[in-house]
């Protein structure tokens, strides 16, 4: 590794620029925020190229004691790497999306955004249990503020709900962490990932972490904060919320729950599958009847995140790799869909679906990109949405055919609600004069959406770029899960005629 503490820089650069933002004018803050996030994006590209997929598990490691047993210990594996890259990619886009939409208290807004980026980066990089906790929970504070100060009319109610849910989860997780530090005699995450907790303890530890991660992801039935938070958040807030913050839940499962408590996790596979199955069907049906664009996409997020939990708890390679690709893809696609909502919201100041219609006429560029992201959301092969969903479902099938049947209904319902949304927004006739007068995408909006579209196709056509860095790390998690992974319910029994056949195809 080269001499620079790259991982610390990922945290310090946004903190520095965020601090600067507070001392300049609105326009200055916009530019500072953009530069800061672009520098971070450049660093993440460097990390991506310098990262050796076949090298050590933890790379770019840094460690300085902070006292009190807590270390400033940073390091990333491939899983953290891809999520860091996703965050760094989305952040400049969020700043761009806020360029004109945010008018009041711009310096503070930009500062909070940069603070949030620093804390999210920290969550993915932290190698110390309590350091992780600070970043993980702290990252939500700027989000509360962004919703609470720059949000819509009911922002207070929304952030209050958000707060209650996460508080509940984080208290339980903290207690569990204290217990873990006491039992394992270490707060190092890499060490804990190899530590075998007693089986009974694993049950409670799993449940405590579940309380926190299930809320973040979110899983049914602790998802009801998400639609409200999205509806009230400004566009860029929604993008980060859906694009990155939800991924912290999935990241938590794969970093903590699965490798640290394999027995505990295996014990709850039926629960996880049932909750995920309910999420797919229930939230998809709810999405079908929404009248608010953002709420519809928020509910679809819950349904998509169920593919993550299905894949992770299938506990096989396709499932876990699929879950990670779903996380990345959903980060891009839902982010882009919220940006698409933002584009028309900025023009008409309403998210009511019925106020639009026929936008293909006056906004053909918008209609094209919105179609791309709609198709990615319904998992059309060739887009990022397909690869993740497909792998996660194939993994689920290996663990449980029932699980796969229920999960796969999501591809029918997903098509129904997304295409119906698209129809009501872009097809039909221009019913309202004000909607008909809206101009097509500006150059700035093209710069926000087109890179995401490119990434969506890249991930859909050559996903190997994204799977290669995570391959060995998924393998390491699988080693931990080896003894508990479910055998599945397929019980293939060969017929008499097959006895002489080559059995090498079996696995």
């Amino acid at each position: 590794m080269t001499g620079l503490p790259w991982l610390s820089l990922l945290i310090l650069v946004p903190l520095f620029f965020g601090g600067l933002c507070l001392f300049v004018s609105a326009n200055g803050a916009r530019w500072l925020a953009l530069i800061g996030t672009l520098i971070n994006f450049a660093i993440s590209i460097y990390l991506w190229t310098a990262y050796d997929p076949n090298g050590a598990q933890w790379q770019f490691v840094e460690k300085y004691p902070l006292g009190g047993g807590v270390n400033w210990a940073l390091g990333i594996d491939g899983i953290a790497l891809v999520l860091i890259a996703l965050t760094a990619f989305l952040m400049p886009i969020c700043i761009g999306a806020s360029w004109r939409a945010i008018e009041k208290r711009v310096p503070e807004y930009m500062a909070y955004f940069l603070l949030m980026e620093a804390l999210i980066m920290g969550s993915f990089e932290a190698q110390d249990l309590f350091l992780f906790y600070i970043f993980f929970e702290g990252g939500l504070i700027p989000m509360y503020l962004i919703i609470g100060v720059w949000g819509g009319i009911e922002r207070i109610k929304a952030s209050y709900k958000f707060f209650l849910y996460t508080l509940f989860g984080s208290v339980l997780m903290l207690i569990a962490m204290i217990y873990m530090a006491g039992t394992a005699h270490t707060t190092s995450i890499p060490a804990l990932m190899a530590f075998d907790f007693p089986k009974q303890a694993q049950t409670f530890l799993f449940l405590a972490f579940l309380a926190s991660f299930a809320v973040k992801l979110p899983m049914w039935p602790v998802h009801t904060w998400l639609p409200d938070a999205h509806v009230q958040a400004p566009t860029a807030g929604s993008v980060i919320l859906a694009g990155v913050l939800l991924k912290l839940g999935g990241y938590g499962f794969i970093r903590f729950s699965l490798p640290m408590f394999p027995e505990g996790s295996a014990q709850f596979i039926p629960l996880m599958f049932v909750l995920s199955g309910i999420a797919v069907v229930y939230t998809s049906l709810v999405a079908l009847v929404q009248r608010d664009m953002k709420k519809l996409i928020a509910y679809s997020s819950v349904a998509h995140m169920a593919f993550v939990t299905f894949g992770l708890f299938a506990m096989n390679r396709q499932g876990i790799e699929g879950a990670l690709v779903v996380m990345l893809s959903h980060g891009l696609v839902s982010g882009a869909l919220f940006l698409c909502v933002g584009v028309v919201y900025d023009r008409l100041h309403t998210r009511e679906i019925d106020r639009y219609g026929g936008l293909s006429d006056n906004m053909p560029g918008y209609a094209l990109l919105f179609m791309v992201f709609t198709m990615a959301s319904v998992g059309l092969p060739g887009t990022s949405g397909f690869v993740g969903e497909f792998l996660s479902l194939i993994g689920t099938y290996r663990a449980s055919s029932w699980g796969a049947i229920v999960a796969t209904t999501g591809i029918i319902l997903g098509a129904a609600y997304m295409l119906w949304l698209y129809w009501r927004i872009c097809f039909g006739s221009l019913r309202n004069a004000d909607a008909a007068a809206m101009p097509d995408l500006s150059a700035r909006e093209w710069w926000l959406l087109a890179p995401i579209a490119a990434a969506v196709f890249w991930m859909g056509i050559y996903p190997e770029s994204f799977i290669r860095p995570i391959r060995n790390d998924v393998g390491r998690v699988l080693t931990r899960l080896d003894r508990v992974a479910p055998a599945g319910d397929s019980h293939l029994t060969l017929g008499k005629g097959a006895m002489h056949m080559n059995m090498g195809t079996m696995h």
Binding site: V289, I394, G495
Partner: protein, 682 residues
């Protein structure tokens, strides 16, 4: 290299026309896409002839790795063999002619670059489907053609009916994809691969094995074949997933010809043939394929007899002909299934494009009750439609060298194969096949007679009225009048003069007419002949020489029955629409219930609306208001707030403070944790 050009040129052309259409102009966009497809057609035919001469082998051209996860490897690769070669000539030929036709047909449409881009995108996806070497790439093509179909059905996006039809097509196909996906998952679980040749090689070894699925214990191969077949049923509009196809006629007519007649809807048949060695391992699955095909074949033909919209008649006819192909595959006559797919592509594309020419001449009127007497006005269209009708009804004679139109060879091969298969399902399919041959003849001649014969009935048409009064109907006014009462329409031309279509329209349909004339005559040997076919197919599909031979030596009455049925159908049509035009009305008056049932398509749409659409919306609202708001929020966050004694009013006061309390809790927790750690360290 040629193969890569055939497949990827249309993609390139679609991107140029679609993204650059605004800059390069519509003529350039149309030339690029049409050119790409013509190059494809010119390259495809020699490949097909190489396979006919047995001078080419199966080849797989790798492109690059697509998905690699553990033992699952999926490559982008182009496979070419005798089965793909058939599909390539069908797709490139029909597609290039449809591109050319659209120059004339879509001339006044403002969205031409978009239209041609979609057509080429479709052709690309269809070729990815037929060149797939793995189930997953097949699925890519499968979904890609679905997307193009969705975009083209909804091409005139101002029309609510077009949008509804597009959405319906996509969602119903997704139900099929649900089965297809589960089939792929199961196949991977059982065989450890998604590569088609590997699966087909290993499939016989899995015959007789059992597997757990959704709590049941079932035959492995039956399960996998049936799951995959659900996908085929969706794409090929087989009962009960057929409802999207008639509605898909909302798209422009060239689209109906290319996608909803000649190519995409036959993808299901192609899939079953491609996987035929796999289907052969499960007699149960084969029986299901036969039954589904036969029942669809019959159902769609009955509905086709009672439609008045010219495109809907042909749409139901397509659905019915697909049923023929499926029951052929179901009885093991894959060669006959592919043969009918091949000939059907020509004559059905011809019928659709011919109907388009009629619609063009009749100023977007699609209701045949307002046609009549058109044979003198648009003679070229009339003659090609007659050739198409002779082809679909199967006119021909098999004596000596024999002569017949395309459908004669392929349809008779199917009907006779069903008979010689000897199974219950096969015998059932045979009789269905004969009865439907009668109905096919009836509805096809009914179409010709109502359109081209009798007195003109144009005056009563709104579209013609618009034309006469100089109002210009925009092309997206093309619509079908699905009023079902068969009341008599006043006769008279109203002074309107239909015009024959321009050359860009006539050239493609005349070329297709050649295909409808000759495709059966020239190629029946390599598709189904007991001598030539085995050396053509060479095990690519599970071609049964036995069936081929048995067909040749089957009893005379078996050979003649389709022809006799066809003649009876022609006679009934002539009797009802030429000799005594009042007869259909009398029939309807005599059996009103039967007519209503058939004309309303056996009420499938109404049934589905009642069973699926309304409950889904109802459940959605229930979960939203009753679940999320009424239960989870009430007992969750709101309940919690009340429980700890902070009612809404108090919350309101605390709202500015809660953030800090949260931060405080977190900090306190951390201090506690740190103290614990320090304490423990000592």
């Amino acid at each position: 290299m040629a193969l890569k050009l055939i497949v990827f040129l249309p993609l390139l052309a679609a991107l140029i026309a679609g993204l650059g259409g605004r800059w390069i102009g519509k003529t350039a966009a149309k030339s690029v896409t049409t050119g790409a497809l013509f190059i494809g057609a010119i390259l495809s035919w020699p490949i097909f002839f190489q396979y006919i001469r047995s001078s080419a082998d199966t080849a797989v051209v790798p492109v690059f790795t697509w998905i690699h996860s553990g033992t699952l490897t999926v490559d982008w690769a182009l496979r070419i063999d005798s089965l793909t070669a058939v599909m390539l000539v069908v797709v490139t030929t029909v597609s290039s002619l449809v591109h050319l036709y659209s120059w004339g047909y879509m001339e006044e449409d403002p969205g031409q670059p978009r239209f041609f881009a979609y057509l080429s995108l479709f052709s690309f996806a269809m070729m990815m489907l037929v060149t797939a070497n793995s189930l997953v790439q097949m699925f890519f093509g499968w979904e890609g053609v679905g997307l193009a179909s969705y975009l083209l059905i909804g091409f005139w996006y101002h029309k609510p009916s077009a949008n509804a039809a597009a959405l319906k097509a996509f969602v119903v196909n997704r139900i099929g994809d649900f089965g297809f996906s589960l089939g792929i998952f199961g196949t991977f679980l059982v065989f450890g691969t998604v590569s088609i040749p590997a699966i087909l090689a290993a499939a016989p070894g899995m015959a007789g094995s059992t597997i757990g699925f959704a709590g049941m214990h079932v035959q492995t191969m039956t399960l996998l074949c049936l799951l995959l077949f659900v996908g085929a049923m969706g794409k090929s509009a087989q009962l009960p997933l057929h409802t999207w196809l008639p509605d898909a006629m909302e798209g422009p007519t060239p689209v109906s010809a290319l996608i909803h007649a000649a190519t995409m809807v036959t993808a299901g048949v192609f899939m079953v043939c491609r996987l035929s060695p796999m289907f052969e391992t499960s007699p149960t699955a084969m029986h299901v394929v036969t039954w589904v095909g036969a029942i669809t074949c019959f159902f769609a033909a009955t509905v086709g007899c009672a439609q008045n919209d010219i495109k809907r008649v042909i749409a139901y006819s397509t659905c019915s002909q697909l049923g023929y192909m499926f029951f052929a595959a179901g009885v093991g006559a894959y060669g006959a299934a592919m043969f009918h797919l091949f000939t059907h592509a020509f004559f059905k594309a011809l019928l659709f494009l011919g109907a388009g020419s009629v619609i063009h001449a009749m100023h977007h009127e699609q209701d045949m009750r307002f046609y009549g007497a058109l044979r003198k006005e648009i003679p070229v269209t009339y003659w090609v439609m007659v050739i198409g009708t002779l082809a679909i009804t199967g006119v021909g004679i098999d004596v000596g060298p024999g002569f017949g139109f395309a459908g004669f060879w392929s349809k008779d091969a199917i009907i006779q194969s069903a008979w010689v298969s000897g199974s219950v399902a096969g015998t059932f399919a045979f009789w269905i096949g004969v009865i439907v041959a009668l109905m096919t003849s009836f509805y096809s001649w009914r179409l010709v007679f109502m359109t081209f014969f009798g007195p003109p009935r144009w005056a009563a048409s709104e579209h013609i009225q618009h034309a006469l009064h100089g109002e210009h109907d925009s092309p997206d006014e093309e619509h079908g009048d699905s009023a079902h009462d068969s009341h008599r329409v006043a006769t008279g031309s109203g002074g309107y003069h239909p015009h024959e279509s321009p050359l860009t329209i006539l050239v493609p349909i005349v070329l297709l007419a050649l295909g409808a004339l000759l495709a059966g005559q020239l190629f029946h040997g390599i598709f189904v002949g007991p001598n030539a076919a085995p050396s053509y197919w060479r095990g690519i599909i599970a071609f049964s020489r036995k069936i081929g031979e048995a067909v040749e030596s089957s009893a005379l009455w078996v050979k003649l029955s389709p022809t006799i049925a066809m003649l009876i159908g022609l006679w009934i049509a002539w009797n009802n629409y030429i000799r005594d035009p009042a007869a259909p009305g009398r029939f309807v008056a005599m059996f009103p219930a039967v007519y209503k049932f058939v004309a309303n398509k056996w009420y499938f749409d109404e049934l589905y609306h009642f069973l699926f659409v309304r409950p889904a919306l109802w459940l959605g609202r229930l979960f939203w208001h009753g679940g999320d708001e009424g239960t989870i929020d009430r007992f969750g966050p709101h309940g919690a707030a009340y429980a700890v004694g902070i009612g809404n009013r108090v919350t309101f006061r605390l709202q500015s403070g809660y953030l800090y309390s949260y931060a405080l809790v977190m900090l306190l927790g951390l201090i506690g944790a740190a103290s614990w750690a320090i304490w423990w360290a000592k």
